[in-house]
């Protein structure tokens, strides 16, 4: 079991970087407020003048001016926030990753490829795919990486009048975690949530653990290989891990790797102009996210290398 630095230790080490950025955030926020006041105020003043002299109904002109002023304000605030975000990711999250992970590397603009997402065979192919905040490193002998993923499917519905509407339905939103597995295998085994309809890629694998069977359905290209991977002890560990992450895990084993899909609806590792960079609760949340994801390796005992794979 590795030694994870406690939050108070990490907090101490993070303070200089956070203080530095807090000054920048304040100046960006003040800048945004000033610019917003000047531009939006100007637009509103013009709208008042025009609506008084040029239109028959002044209310429409005022309303239009108000909407334009709001849009301009939001563009200004977004523009300023976009200046802060990359620096926050680089200086705060980057440092946090370095402190917590051996050979830790954080690439905010990079993600896990759509091809890798499709290879898990856990979801249908997405129509819109986005992945960012790629973190990689090692825990003992086990190399791993994870990133935020949002995969959506397009659904078009037609109403009784023949009008079509497009909806985007989320297939998966959260963290995709990939780690080197401690046994070699050549096929694919997937663990889906238990469902009345037993459909999945490959043959259904019925396992002996009744609690595991109650939570999951397993499908594999090879019955024996699925049981070789899912030893009785790994099944127990996966049940515990699933409880820890709120009973929503999906798992795929392929290319001698384990892929775990951890659902999460909030966008992590982002800065806000309105929130202090020194906000300890926020740092605590990011710390907990990284620690809980990297703890998967210990929880599943992936550093135990007693089989032929070293």
């Amino acid at each position: 079991m590795r030694n994870i630095p406690s939050f108070s230790e990490i907090k101490e080490r993070m303070v200089p970087a956070m203080d530095q950025l807090e000054g920048l955030r304040r100046s960006l926020l003040n800048d945004a407020k000033k610019k917003s006041l000047i531009y939006s105020g100007g637009i509103l003043a013009i709208a008042v003048v025009i609506s008084l002299f040029a239109t028959s109904n002044p209310l429409y002109g005022l309303l239009f001016g108000f909407i334009v002023a709001c849009i301009v304000s939001s563009v200004i605030f977004n523009y300023q926030a976009n200046k802060l975000s990359p620096l926050y990711k680089k200086k705060v999250i980057g440092k946090l990753v370095e402190e917590l992970i051996e050979e830790g590397k954080y690439e905010p603009e990079t993600g896990i490829s759509e091809a890798s997402f499709n290879q898990t065979a856990l979801y249908s192919r997405p129509d819109r795919y986005n992945s960012e905040d790629f973190i990689s490193g090692k825990v003992g002998k086990t190399a791993f990486c994870f990133a935020e993923v949002h995969a959506e499917e397009k659904q078009v519905t037609t109403n009784s009048k023949g009008q079509t509407q497009t909806h985007w339905v989320t297939l998966f939103q959260g963290f995709m975690f990939i780690a080197d597995f401690n046994k070699d295998f050549s096929g694919q085994t997937i663990i889906q949530r238990n469902s009345i309809f037993k459909f999945g890629r490959g043959q259904r694998v019925k396992l002996e653990n009744p609690v595991f069977e109650k939570h999951f359905d397993v499908f594999s290209t090879d019955q024996v290989e699925a049981r070789y991977i899912l030893s009785p002890s790994l099944m127990e560990k996966l049940i515990k891990l699933d409880e820890l992450f709120g009973n929503g895990l999906l798992v795929s084993f392929h290319h001698s790797q384990i892929v775990i899909m951890v659902k999460c609806t909030s966008n992590h590792f982002e800065a806000s102009l309105w929130r202090s960079v020194r906000d300890i609760e926020n740092l605590k949340e990011e710390y907990a996210t990284i620690v809980s994801l990297t703890s998967i390796i210990d929880a599943l005992d992936l550093n135990t290398r007693i089989w032929s794979k070293e």
Binding site: K183, K206, L207, E208, Q223, V224, R227, Y228, W307, S308
Partner: protein, 169 residues
């Protein structure tokens, strides 16, 4: 009326055929799973020379355990009876246990590259063997459920599909 009777007979016949085919498929799955265990046992059988070579340097006084399996290694695996294979299985387990005990007493053996490599290979084979046995037991349970539950038990009894024993290990 005749039409209804004919349709009913046809439907019953169809159900019987489906159940019969299902039973055959499940029996074949169990037999196939058993064959996989045999493949894994053969893999383990092939490890005997390594185990004996490493062990005999350190276990002069425990020759008997290792000479037994060495003797069995000289037999042709394909021609071995199920009883021979079970005996081999038992002897192999004993020899493996002894080797681990010996390694505890000889640090140089425990640290040697050959021993570590053998231990990894043994662990690997054991894990695969366990997976094969579990697969066999799952297939047998599935087959036995069909043989014993209604209405497939009617077809099973008529065509002598008998219950299979699960692998005890």
């Amino acid at each position: 009326m005749l039409k209804i009777v004919l349709i009913a007979i046809g439907a019953i016949l169809l159900i019987c055929i489906i159940i019969y085919n299902l039973l055959v498929s499940k029996r074949n799955q169990a037999e196939n799973a058993f064959a996989t265990i045999d493949v894994m046992l053969k893999k383990r059988f092939d490890l005997i020379p390594n185990l004996v070579t490493i062990a005999k340097q350190y276990a002069e006084h425990e020759k008997e355990v290792f000479s037994k399996i060495a003797q069995m290694r000289s037999m042709n695996y394909a021609k071995m009876s199920d009883t021979d294979k079970m005996e081999l299985d038992n002897n192999f387990n004993k020899a493996e246990e002894r080797l681990l005990v010996i390694a505890e007493n000889y640090p140089e053996l425990k640290a040697s590259e050959n021993f570590l490599q053998l231990q990894r290979t043994l662990n690997e084979t054991e894990e695969q063997l366990a997976a094969a046995r579990r697969t066999y037991n799952a297939a047998v349970t599935d087959y036995n459920n069909s043989v014993q539950s209604f209405p497939s038990n009617l077809i099973a009894n008529s065509f002598k599909f008998t219950r299979k024993e699960v692998y005890k290990y």
